[in-house]
Symmetry: C2
DNA sequence: GTGAAAGCGCTAACAG
DNA sequence: CTGTTAGCGCTTTCAC
């Protein structure tokens, strides 16, 4: 449960200056010095300056660990994401970090790599470090048990980007994946496509299920039938996209367009097409999901749907901040509406620059 | 110096189970329970199990904050980078985080956005949180003073990617920017270019100065003269690249090729060229630096130099780990050799796929 | 092998 | 406004 593991620790040899030493040096009590450190207004100017001088002179360093222990508070928050490598999450991280930083919180980072046991371990660690709150993107198929433990200790939890089964009790910020899936698929149908593959990602994730739902809705609304064999699960990576499109192309009645679970998959799909001698955006339409920065820079530029990761992060941080300040209202749900961004990868009639 | 700021804190209402309660429940002393928690081998099997059962039953959570306070150790490390938005740093973060995680450390994250005062504040915060070590990429023009404070408290510091003036006392991991700059420039010269702009970045950063040095070396070795007016400083962003190339194109004797300070700048340069009606890779050669993931996906694919950010992160974490375990040897310098990656953006004679 | 007592550096509650 | 006293939850001697 704890495993101190002596080898991972560092012992400080030179003792720090303590508040007591500062107090002695300044000729006041520890309590007074403490008040000065914390900027209390009930301190006379002279005393304050005396103490501040002593602090400077002795090279005093405030010990937040001790202070937090005594006061039973915390100004750290945990951020748990699945993968920093994915730009969607690194942009989300930017939003969270920037907002929390502004409010004076310190961020402890954890990545699960989609492993439930890793996620549990991270949540434990965060509990052990007495974080004041947690922002997390749960791993697919994650059980509420562990996360409920946090709730039990009145540590607010804000979920981002992915929902959790029966996680209605938690605040959630995400985008409308159903609407996003529908937007993308409607666009492709409007471009004349009838056989549209849905590639990459796994059905374990709520985002996948919702995007697929939107995909299906668009088909139904257009009065078209869905060919389940064009829905191919694969890791949400570039390689996953490459493999998925290759499989799709071997279909006896192959698709003419593909909806990648996210932009990374879509990149893979385009690379796979090129390897197969096809030109994405001319011979085959591709769309993605997320609108990460590089999607506009790909060759050809990728049609996709904006998922506003940074904004999600900012909102999540704001809500967490409110919760940590005592807001005990009902669980909030903030669902951003995605926006279709049409680029060349899905416009087969267009001429490319190259 | 501390500014507790009541509003950023959260008070826990429900008290945690303490080790004392576990000890009582199990009918042993606090000290014994503590030994069990830490997996001491000097405990009888029965006692251990009794205690472990009580822990489970009561829902005990180890309090690392209290433990660290008492034992004067720390298993947290601080990671300070300039910007998470830049893929170079997010890949570096991946390397650091993965390696530290494996060793059981917890990472506190900070970003400076290249602001020296922000960097100082972050270092203070990390000190206040009693981090056991710090990995940082110093802001340009950063003074050693603040960082020396850490050294003074025997908190090991490992510098990554950027050096610090008179920072020889610190471990440093980075790439050979001089060699990288030379590689890139030699390549362009070999392609027949004589007027090569060096765009983006600021001379305040050691990486900039070194890359420029390499650029100059290549010119000298080829017996060519350098035109200082083709060296244009600008923010190391896409927009910076756009602006810099526009300025360069207005030169009475404009360049035929550009070396972007990093890949992001190079992307901007290519976008700027397109806006000016030129086609990068056909009318104008562009190379970057870093070889971030998206450089292979750009249109056209970008010639660049691999800077191995993730590897740098991994090495930095390893060295820090050694330091935190008492390795007090001389400051280490690990300089990775960059590798030229030739792609279409610099091969004017090649035919593109589009 | 286990227990008793002391104390890490700080803040809280109350006096004055 | 400032000082006194107690104690956060844990680890560390040092007994036995």
């Amino acid at each position: 449960m704890s495993q101190a593991g002596d080898d991972i620790m560092t012992r400080k040899k030179r003792a720090r200056v303590t508040l007591e030493q500062v107090a002695n040096h300044a000729g006041v009590s520890r309590a007074t010095a403490s008040l000065v450190v914390r900027g209390s207004p009930h301190i006379s100017k002279e005393t304050r300056e005396k103490v501040l001088n002593s602090m400077k002179e002795l090279g005093y360093i405030y010990d937040r660990v001790a202070a937090n222990l005594r006061s039973q508070r915390s100004s750290t928050v945990g951020l748990i994401i699945t993968e920093i490598g994915n730009p969607f999450f690194s942009e989300l991280l930017v939003g969270v970090h920037e907002a929390l930083d502004k409010e004076g919180y310190t961020v402890i980072l954890g990545t699960t790599f989609d492993s439930p046991s890793k996620q549990d371990a991270l949540l434990s660690t965060m509990l052990e470090y007495r974080v004041g709150g947690v922002i997390m993107s749960p791993v697919p198929g994650c059980s509420v048990d562990m996360v409920e433990r946090l709730k039990q200790w009145e540590i607010p939890v804000v979920l981002v980007a992915r929902e959790m089964p029966s996680g209605e009790q938690f605040d959630y910020i995400g985008i409308d994946n159903v609407a996003g899936g529908r937007l993308v698929t409607e666009h492709l149908i409007q471009q004349g496509h009838r056989r549209i593959a849905f590639l990459g990602g796994f059905s374990g994730s709520s985002a996948w299920r919702d995007r697929k739902k939107g995909y299906c809705q668009a088909f139904h609304q257009a009065g078209l039938e869905i060919d389940e064999s064009l829905i191919i699960e694969a890791p949400a990576t570039r390689q996953g996209g490459i493999n998925a499109i290759k499989q799709a192309l071997q279909h006896p009645n192959p698709p003419t367009a593909a909806f990648g679970y996210n932009d990374i998959v879509a990149f893979g799909v385009m690379l796979g097409l090129k390897e197969a001698g096809m030109i994405p955006g001319r011979d085959f339409a591709v769309v993605g999901f997320d609108n990460i920065q590089e999607s506009s820079m790909f060759n050809p530029p990728l049609t996709t749907v904006s998922a506003f990761p940074q904004l999600i992060g900012t909102y999540a941080a704001d809500i967490l901040h409110q919760r940590m300040n005592g807001d005990a209202g009902e669980a909030k749900r903030l669902i951003l509406q995605p926006e279709l961004v049409v680029r060349e990868s899905s416009l087969l009639h267009s001429d490319h620059q190259f």
